[in-house]
C-alpha cells in the first residue's frame, strides 16, 4: 500500500459530501421491471388503484422509471444526518487473518438503533405519510429490523405505527418488541386473530410460525380498512430500492474519494432492499456501459427465490390480497422453515432486481445457515462487529471470494454490504454455539407446492 494513498480503516464522508438525491436505477434500465398488476384485470395498476394502499408521493416514486435522480427532501436529509453517513470499512484485520491478497471493504449500516439499513427507507416513507396528513401506517416485520426502523421514523414524525411481526421472530426476539414499544408502536404477532386474513390462515395452518407473506396480508388489511392509514413496506418495492440507493451512493462516493475501483459487489437478498440500494449506482454504470462489476446476490438455501424460484407474476403476500408483481418467486404460499435469518424469509424478490438478474446483469448464490453462522462468528471475532444473520450471508460469500483470491493470488477488491447488527439474534447464536442449528434445504416437492399457488393466466407461463 503506497503511503500517499493510505486508506483509513473507516472512510467517512463529510456532511457536505452526502448525497442530496436518491438514484433510480430503473431510469437506466433498457428492460424496465414489469409493472405491478391488478390480480383481477391483469392490467398494470394505476396510480388511482395504488393510492388506497400507499401514500401518494410514494406511488409516484413506485411508478417512476424515467427520472434517474429524485431529490431527498430536506427533512429526510436532516434525519439522515443523525446516523449517516455510515462508514465504509476497510477490513484490514479480516484480510490479514484470511491471508488473502484481496482487499475487502464493507458498508456498515448497523450503527443506528434500528440496527440496520431499514431506517433509510422508513424515514422517507414516514415523511411522505406525514406530509399527506395521515394518522398512521401499518406494516409487517420479519426479523424486526424494519418494524424497529419504522417505529423510530413514526415516533420522529408523530405518526401512529401498527406492526405485524412474523410469529417466529416475535417469539425469538422478545426484546425487539420492547424497542418498538419504546418508540410508541403497537406490535402484534402474525398470523393473528385481529384480521380476517389472519383468522383464515390460522384456521388453515394452526401451528404456523408465520411468514412475511402472512404479515403483509394482515398489515394491508388493517391499512385499507382504517381511515387515515396507509400500508408501508420495507423491501421489494421500487420506492424502497430508491431510498436505499443512499447506501450505494455513499459507498461509491467513499470509494471514489480514494480512487478505489471494486471488482465484486456482494449483498444479502431477502426482498432486495439492501442489495438493490448497495448496487444501484454501480449497476447504473454497468447499464450505461461505463464500467463492469461482478454483482452477487446471496440468499439463504432455505428460501432460494433467485436460485430456485421462477420468474413470473405472483402475489407478494400469502393472503393474495396484494397486487401481483413479476419477480423471482417460490410462490406466495411457500412458507420457509423457521430459518433464523428472519429478514430473508420472503418468497419473492424485488421486481427491479428480478429483471436485472433475468437479464444476466447480476449473479445469485444460496448459502446454508450453519456456514453463515460460522462466517458470522469469525467476522465478529476479527472485525469486532456482531453481525445480523441476514448480513452474514454476504460475509460468507465475501470470505469465500477472498479465499479464492488467496488461491489464485488475485488482488481483487471486494465490497459487501453489512446491513446490520445481531444484538437481537442471540437466540440463533445460542443454537449455533450449542450445536443445535441445522440446515434446511427445501426439496423439489416443497418447491413444487409453492409453485402450484402461482396464478396461471396467459402471459404468465413459467
Amino acid at each position: 500500500m503506497s503511503e500517499e494513498k493510505k486508506i483509513p480503516y473507516k472512510i467517512y464522508l463529510e456532511e457536505q459530501e452526502m448525497p442530496t438525491s436518491w438514484y433510480n436505477v430503473r431510469a437506466d434500465m433498457k428492460n424496465k421491471p414489469a409493472p405491478l398488476m391488478n390480480p383481477g384485470t391483469h392490467q398494470p395498476l394505476t396510480k388511482e388503484e395504488l393510492a388506497p394502499i400507499f401514500c401518494e408521493e410514494l406511488v409516484d416514486q413506485e411508478l417512476n422509471d424515467t427520472d434517474a435522480y429524485i431529490e431527498i427532501p430536506e427533512e429526510i436529509r436532516n434525519f439522515y444526518k443523525m446516523y449517516r453517513p455510515s462508514p465504509l470499512v476497510r477490513a484490514y484485520c479480516l484480510e490479514e487473518k484470511l491471508g488473502t491478497p484481496a482487499k475487502i471493504y464493507y458498508k456498515f449500516e448497523g450503527n443506528n438503533t434500528s440496527g440496520s439499513h431499514k431506517l433509510n427507507s422508513a424515514i422517507a416513507q414516514a415523511y411522505y405519510a406525514k406530509k399527506q396528513g395521515l394518522k398512521g401506517v401499518t406494516t409487517e416485520t420479519g426479523a424486526g429490523q424494519w418494524g424497529t426502523a419504522l417505529s423510530m421514523a413514526c415516533s420522529y414524525f408523530d405518526l401512529d405505527c401498527k406492526v405485524y411481526m412474523v410469529k417466529v421472530s416475535y417469539e425469538q426476539k422478545p426484546f425487539r418488541r420492547e424497542v418498538m414499544r419504546t418508540y410508541g408502536a403497537t406490535v402484534t404477532p402474525s398470523p393473528s386473530m385481529t384480521t380476517e386474513i389472519g383468522k383464515k390462515i390460522l384456521a388453515e395452518h394452526p401451528g404456523t410460525t408465520g411468514s412475511l407473506g402472512c404479515a403483509i396480508s394482515e398489515a394491508v388489511e388493517v391499512a385499507t380498512q382504517n381511515e387515515g392509514y396507509r400500508y408501508v413496506l420495507g423491501s421489494v418495492l421500487n420506492q424502497v430500492l430508491l431510498h436505499q440507493s443512499i447506501i450505494g451512493l455513499e459507498t461509491k462516493a467513499a470509494l471514489d474519494k480514494y480512487g478505489i475501483d471494486p471488482d465484486i459487489i456482494i449483498g444479502c437478498a431477502g426482498g432486495g432492499s439492501n442489495l438493490g440500494g448497495l448496487i444501484a449506482p454501480f449497476m447504473g454504470e454497468k447499464l450505461r456501459g461505463e464500467k463492469d462489476y461482478r454483482i452477487i446476490a446471496v440468499e439463504p438455501a432455505s428460501c432460494p427465490s433467485f436460485t430456485r424460484g421462477v420468474f413470473a407474476y405472483d402475489f407478494c403476500d400469502t393472503g393474495m390480497i396484494c397486487p401481483l408483481a413479476k419477480m423471482y418467486t417460490l410462490g406466495s404460499s411457500f412458507i420457509p422453515s423457521a430459518n433464523h435469518a428472519g429478514g430473508l424469509r420472503f418468497h419473492g424478490m424485488s421486481t427491479t432486481l428480478s429483471q436485472l438478474y433475468h437479464d444476466g446483469l447480476m449473479e445469485a448464490t444460496a448459502v446454508e445457515q450453519t456456514a453463515v453462522f460460522e462466517a458470522a462468528e469469525q467476522f465478529a471475532r476479527i472485525e469486532g462487529i456482531l453481525p445480523a444473520p441476514e448480513s452474514s450471508h454476504a460475509i460468507r460469500v465475501a470470505i469465500d471470494e477472498a479465499l479464492k483470491c488467496k488461491e489464485t493470488g488475485e488482488e481483487k477488491t471486494i465490497v459487501f454490504g453489512l446491513t446490520g447488527t445481531g444484538y437481537f439474534d442471540m437466540v440463533a447464536y445460542e443454537r449455533f454455539h450449542d450445536g443445535e442449528m441445522t440446515d434446511y434445504i427445501p426439496t423439489d416437492e416443497d418447491l413444487a407446492k409453492g409453485f402450484a399457488g402461482i396464478p396461471k393466466f396467459p402471459g404468465n407461463e413459467f
Copy 2:
C-alpha cells in the same frame, strides 16, 4: 449559528487526528489520589505486591502519578481504528424539542459490539496481558458491558477469558452471555459455587442477587490461584481512567476543531471509568488553572457513593480480599437493590475522582431510576439512539441543565458522555413501559450498615 462555523450533526476526527497518547490526570493533581493500601500492614502497596494480581505493565500505569502522557502502543491504536474515533454528536433535535438555547453535545461510545466505552480499556489490558505471555485473564462484569468488551479484546489477542457476572444481570441479560460466548469467553453467575469466597457469600446471603463487589472477589480468587492468569478490572482503577482518557481527548480535539468551549461536562459514575476518561483533559486544564468548567458526576440514588458515601480507605470487593482504596464508599458490604443500571451498582468510586471531588473540583448528583428511564425514552425518540440505563443518568441531568437554560435564557454549552446502548437492557425498559419500575433510595439505616463494614484503623476516621 454563523454559516462559516456551521457545526455538523456529528464531528468525526480523521484517523490522523486521533490521540497517540493517553493522558494521566494524576500528573497534574497537586493532591494525588491516595495509594492502594495493604489491608494487613496499612502500608502503600508495592509493585511486587500488586504483580501477582495485575499485569506488570498495568501495575506501572497504576502507580504512575507523574507522567502526564503515556504513549498508546501501536497494536492498541490499530484496534482503536476499528471502532474509533467515536462521534461527538450535536444534539440539534433534542435542543429543538426541549426549546432550549443551550447547545448540547454528546460523545457516543456505543457504536461497537461491546456496546459501550469499556472496550477502550479492555483492549489495552488484554494487550499487556498478552505481551506478558499470560494464558488468560479473569474479571467481573455488572451490566455485562465490561465482560463483553473484555471477551472481544481477549478474542483479538487469543487469550482465555473467565467472566464472573453479577447474578441479577446474568438473569436479566441472557443474551449478553451469548455475545461473550461468541467471543469465546466462559461466563459464571456470581456469587457462584466455583470459588471459596462465592460459597461463603452464598452461605451468608442465600438469596443474594449479587453485586460487583462479590464478583470482583471471585474473579480475583480465580486469577491468583491459577498459573498464567491475572485479574483485570473495567473501572475504578487509575489504569482504567488512563485508558479511558481517549474519550476526553477525542472530545476535546473535536470541540477544539470547531472552537467550541463547553460550560458543563456531565458523565454517569459507577466506578468512574467513563466519567474519569471523559473529563480527563478538561480537568487537566482546570488543575493547571488554564480554564474552568462545571463537571458533574451523576450516580443512581440507589447507590449514591459520592453524594451519601464517606471518604475513607475501604475494600473494593465484598470478600475483602482486595487491596484497600481511599475513595467515596458506601462500605464493601453494601449490596444495592436490584437496580437495573447494573453498571452503576458499585459501592465505591475511583480514587482519582474521589480525590478530585473531595477537593471541590467537581460536583455530584444522584438521580432516581424512573426519572432516568423517562429521559432515556425521550432521548431515544428524539435522537434515535437507544441509550443504556447507565448512560441515561447523564442524559437526565443534561436535559435538566438544558431546561434550566431555557428558564434563564443562558446559551450554555453542555457536553455529556453517552457511554453505551441499551439493546441488552430491554427487560428494564419493559418494566418501565409496564409501570412496574420503582425507585429505591437506601435509608440512613441501610447506609449505616454498610459504613459499619469499613475497616477502622488510625488515619482512617470518617
